[in-house]
Subunit: 360 residues, 2 copies
């Protein structure tokens, strides 16, 4: 029987929930491998996946007998069937952080459940801890991203636009077996690098530009996330102290991150060190990575929980000087009992692209 669904059923018993409607497609994919549109019903005795004719064949090919999931075509389900899925269930869980208020009301009406009960993100919380198979897919996504970065260092030339670089990244991923990019690629050069959430523009790379590249891919559903600030032609002297400050904090954070570490303290340490130098940490230090590019746990001073073994998170301090430039260095890392393992392995020292032209 499907281990993850077994785990969920055990968890439901603890919460006095006898049935559950799983609607979030990411949670369904996590539990079953199914990548389609539909709803998963965990009833007292069975697991049902309800979808439409477009997906039935694909879904049947995805699941195995061991999953013990009954696949239904939504066209074949009557009003009476809906009312009977959860008969004799005192409480039926639903995902209050995913379904809309209108869908909630529709579920109330359709399933005639005795009581629809909020489940407080049980599945999102479980997804924080990755199993072996998930870790190997995340490793693969990260290594594709490292390989793409190695390619970029050769590819980027002064005079190219940010968009051309972003486009090359997507092309590389598609040609090397990734499903897709995992989020809209950021390529921010010169002044644009001073914005933490810049998009790639038509600006051309100029000699002396810092170039912040924040990118990643999906591999069999699992995401990677990596950032480097590199330099076109040469490294301007003025930016070196900032770069070194970001890098030393990124390395220190990697040392701090392990099972049991306090997320708030790790984040505060970086902010404190930045402030001692006249800057501050304007965005989160990191976030979980998995089937979604941003998932629990969020690594910030607002999170008072601790890291656990087999979490996969980013470590991404950054400093931004408005109107001038910015530096961010980000790895995707795996938390272990004794420390952390960098899944992103690319160099973090000064990297200069197209340096020959700048020496003219």
């Amino acid at each position: 029987m499907n281990e993850k669904i077994n785990w969920l059923r055990e968890k439901m018993r603890g919460l006095n929930i006898q049935g559950m409607i799983v609607s979030n497609p990411v949670n369904i994919r996590y539990l079953t491998g199914i990548n389609a549109e539909g709803v998963l019903l965990i009833t007292r005795k069975e697991n049902y996946y309800i979808t439409d004719s477009r997906y039935i064949e694909d879904v049947q090919n995805t699941i195995t007998i061991d999953d013990e999931i009954i696949v239904n075509n939504i066209a074949d389900i009557s009003e009476y069937d809906y009312e009977n899925f959860f008969s004799f269930c005192e409480n039926v869980g639903f995902e209050e952080n995913y379904i809309t208020y209108a869908t909630y009301k529709n579920y109330m009406h359709k399933y005639k459940a005795n009581n629809l009960e909020e489940t407080d993100g049980i599945l999102e919380k479980q997804r924080m801890i990755k199993d072996e198979k998930e870790i190997s897919l995340l490793e693969k996504a990260c290594s594709l991203t490292d390989e793409c970065f190695t390619h970029l260092i050769q590819f980027i030339k002064i005079g190219m636009t940010e968009k051309e670089i972003a486009y090359e990244i997507e092309k590389y991923f598609l040609e090397h077996g990734a499903d897709s990019i995992s989020f809209e690629t950021i390529v921010a050069s010169g002044k644009n690098s001073s914005k933490p959430h810049a998009k790639a523009t038509d600006k051309k790379i100029e000699s002396g530009d810092p170039i912040t590249i924040d990118f990643g891919c999906k591999y069999k559903g699992y995401c990677s996330d990596m950032t480097r600030t590199i330099f076109a032609g040469f490294v301007p002297e003025a930016i070196k102290p900032i770069y070194n400050l970001v890098l030393s904090n990124q390395l220190q954070t990697a040392k701090d991150m392990k099972e049991g570490a306090d997320i708030r303290i790790i984040s505060r340490n970086v902010d404190n060190d930045f402030r001692l130098n006249g800057y501050s940490l304007v965005h989160s230090l990191g976030h979980g990575v998995g089937l979604e590019i941003h998932e629990h746990p969020f690594i910030s001073v607002k999170n008072d929980s601790t890291l656990k073994a087999n979490m996969v998170v980013t470590n991404e301090p950054g400093i931004y000087i408005p109107g001038e430039y910015g530096v961010r260095i980000e790895d995707t890392i795996l938390i272990t009992k004794s420390g952390c393992i960098n899944l992103t392995k690319s160099d973090k020292n000064y990297i200069i692209v197209d340096s020959i032209i700048s020496e003219k």
Copy 2:
């Protein structure tokens, strides 16, 4: 004062709603032009947009004095402020089709509104009718898409993969001023064309393949949507009757579409004609297009409303023979009082690419 917000205020009066929380970013963009993360509050006397420090500058640059929108940083808003936004409001509207159940409960708690009232998609319904400015942006998105198609006819060669073609489409759009593609491009050749919702794969184009290309771009937020089934090398005789049947129905639908036309009847006519020939219409005949690629009205037998002037919708009949091939022809069109105007202007007769090689 902002015309669209004025319209909304009038509509609210009719619904006995004295305030409204607009959370859907597409609806906010429609009303204000703001493209950010935040919430728009329509209170008795004022319009507030609440966002965070990342977006404040951009938002201030987007809106004008005429918009009469007060922009607030979420960090500056106290519990007391939230409770006072809707004082003396009997009913406060919210978007039950957009916000989650958890957000609904959070709004209840935060705004302490007397009564949160469902608004039944008033904004989505208003968005169906495009104004002059919106129509000109949709025209531009469609003409970029026609130009891309003209380029593709020269570009596509036997031996290329579907992914290479999809990639060229994205590249073309980015290089010619589009914001992005409007949805994941479909390039489905040979047998793959028999799936209505195929993705681009690594399959190479072979001589005699039908190639269904379903693609579009966004221009200043507004989407285009177009499909053509073209042929590599030559048009197989077996497919011609299917192609002609799809095309004749697409042309007939264009004749039928005008203000006052019954959406159900138009859709049923196509399905009937397909069935007379042994096929059926397995997906909707079309959908609204605007800030979103799929929006109201949905053109299917399930919709018993009528078309109105200044709606922009797709006209996209298709026939799919499982395991063999499929044909779909889609234009984006503008409804007028007396008929419809094709915003997509590309040829719909047989188009053969790379025909020289096939003649060898």
